[in-house]
Amino acid sequence: MSTGSEIARAEAVGLEAAPSGTPAQPLLQEPGTLAAFWRRLRARKSAVAGLVIVGLLILMAVFAPWIAPYDPTATDWGNVRGAPSLAHPFGGDEVGRDVLSRIIFGARASLGAGLVSVALAVSLGLPLGLLAGYAGGWIDGAISRLTDALLAIPFLILAIALAAFLGPSLVNAMIAIGLSATSTFIRLTRAQVRAVAAEEFVEAARAMGNPPWRIARVHILPNIVPAILVQATLTIAAAIIAEASLSFLGLGQQPPEPSWGAMLNTAKNFMDEAPWMAIWPGLSIFLAVLAFNLFGDGLRDALDPRQRT
């Protein structure tokens, strides 16, 4: 080629031209999409209700010391199995502790277990699923067979076995629940990655000279986040139940620290004399699980690509 066209080429593409006066805007911003997602989410009353309840429960857990009327572990001989009253609206338990205060503080164990265990499951499951789905071959085979083996064991049984192995404590219960939920995230991530990796824009990204890790991070990961987010929200609900179950079995939160599951465990001995000991923690678990499920379902609908414009 002649030098003439070489110059014309340079001018037309403008490599040599200084980037003059272009405002330095962030390269990645999402005008419209986030707002549109929020609009779709808000259109679902049940999702909004779920989000509000989740928000209130989290506030309650965070500000427990300021909200709770009593110390959750302080015993009061005058309030042993005390019926609900003005002083103790939710009644008292078998050693006279205020049930309302224990419910409020118990939210920390339940929500904490839900969030921490799912965070653990996602942080393990996402990279492994990404690796399995994108690398393929024997790596995929090894990870997938391990996942199959883990999925063959019922979630709660596995969590109980792990918690028993690790020893009874709230932290160990969180680890046990998180590990038990990991296989779901590996499998979901792998399936999503394989679907997205078959898209033509991934091929185009390869033809553009992107290295594999960059394709995985920039082109595949953001496209699978919605599915992971929905699954995570729904798994939090399951994890809350799992924490309650482990605590009920004495494998989770240890007395005298409150947890909704542990409260149910003691309450079962006093179902006739003091039913309020069981009703309030039971209702709390129900409400928290319902709220996360409603929110998760709404999230799934709002993120559904078929409903995008």
Binding site: A8, T22, L28, E200, A204, A207, G209, R214, H219
Partner: protein, 338 residues
């Protein structure tokens, strides 16, 4: 003649399937010079896409397998390069434009982020410079109000505009060679014409070589300097565009040209469209001779047993190569006399 930009020598690609190896590309050789536009035509399965993807290591291996040949790009054999070195060439010295602009752009990334990608990977531009360049590229591909559209998502662009964005990405690092794989196939006819016009203008401005892969002879006629007809993973004919259209020497090329509607009007134009009888061969068990022979009314016994070499067509323009044992012009004139 100067040294060619791209020199493909006897490239062969096979794809392993459960039913045996599919011989997708069977000894393809050609050269492409700087600034030249090569149109490659052929039907599905002719190997036209697979061979360019194979050149750049873009066919998945397995099942894909390069069974032979060399691909010299600026004197370096691409087939011998490591993946890391190939990545520097992909999107850098060789730009790509894919078939479907609807699915070739990442729906979750802004147009700016996607144009900027090769600039940052290959040229190492910082965010600000890359963004400025992205705007210039959108201007270059004639997208109006480019600055405002940088932060939009692909779904906010029309099909033709998305293909313009794809072309901008393909051209972003000033490639020596732009490969367009069925780049206008997914677009409707008026938009196709716009894209073809755009590519012609860009070629005048930037002077890159182009390989334009398509099954649309009309697009090829409008864009190419040289046309190459592929069938069953082989080149059957190749030559200057006007010569191929006016003086086809291979029966397959003739069949393709006759299957085009003639819109020139008048009585002569109102003829039944020709169709090529039969179906493409099973690529797992290719016939020993000319792969088109079983469908070819002009085939000689030798065609069925021995593959004709690609050689200068006698009496045709220089550089007009054909793989045929028969002399098509002579057969046609004899036919006309009868």
């Amino acid at each position: 003649m100067t040294k060619p930009l791209l020199d493909v020598r006897d490239l062969a690609v096979a794809l392993d399937t459960d039913g045996g190896a599919v011989h997708a590309v069977n000894g393809v050789s050609y050269t492409l010079h700087e600034g030249e536009t090569l149109g490659i035509v052929g039907e599905s399965g002719s190997g036209k896409s697979v061979h360019v993807l194979a050149m750049l290591g873009l066919i998945p291996r397995p099942p894909g397998r390069i069974t032979g040949g060399q691909v010299l790009f600026e004197g370096r054999d691409l087939l011998g390069l490591k993946e890391r070195e190939l990545r520097k060439i992909r999107g850098g010295a060789i730009g790509f434009v894919f078939q479907d602009p609807m699915s070739s752009l990442n729906p979750g990334m802004t147009v700016a982020a996607q144009i900027v990608e090769p600039l940052r990977i290959h040229l190492g531009l910082d965010a600000r410079a890359a963004r400025a360049r992205a705007k210039e590229l959108l201007d270059l591909v004639r997208i109006p109000n480019a600055a405002a559209r940088l932060d939009q998502y692909p779904h906010e662009f029309s099909g033709g505009q998305r293909q313009r964005v794809m072309i901008a990405i393909g051209l972003s690092c000033r490639p020596k060679l732009l490969i367009a794989d069925e780049a206008t196939t997914a677009l409707d006819v008026t938009v196709q014409a716009e894209i073809v016009a755009l590519v012609q203008e860009l070629k005048r401005e930037l002077g890159m070589a182009i390989i334009w892969i398509t099954h649309d002879l009309g697009v090829v006629a409008g864009i190419s300097d040289t046309v190459q007809v592929m069938y069953a993973g082989r080149i059957l004919e190749r030559g200057p565009v006007d010569d191929i259209f006016s003086d086809p020497r291979n029966a397959y090329t003739l069949g393709l040209l006759r299957s085009l509607p003639d819109l020139s009007g008048g009585r002569a134009g109102r003829r039944r469209l020709h169709q090529i009888e039969g179906a493409p061969p099973d690529m797992r068990h290719l016939p020993p001779g000319d792969p088109f022979a079983p469908r070819n009314a002009y085939a000689t016994p030798r065609c069925r047993s021995e593959m004709p070499p690609l050689a200068q067509a006698p009496g045709a323009a220089p550089g007009h190569l054909v793989a045929a044992w028969y002399d098509l012009p002579e057969l046609l004139s004899r036919e006309a006399a009868r």
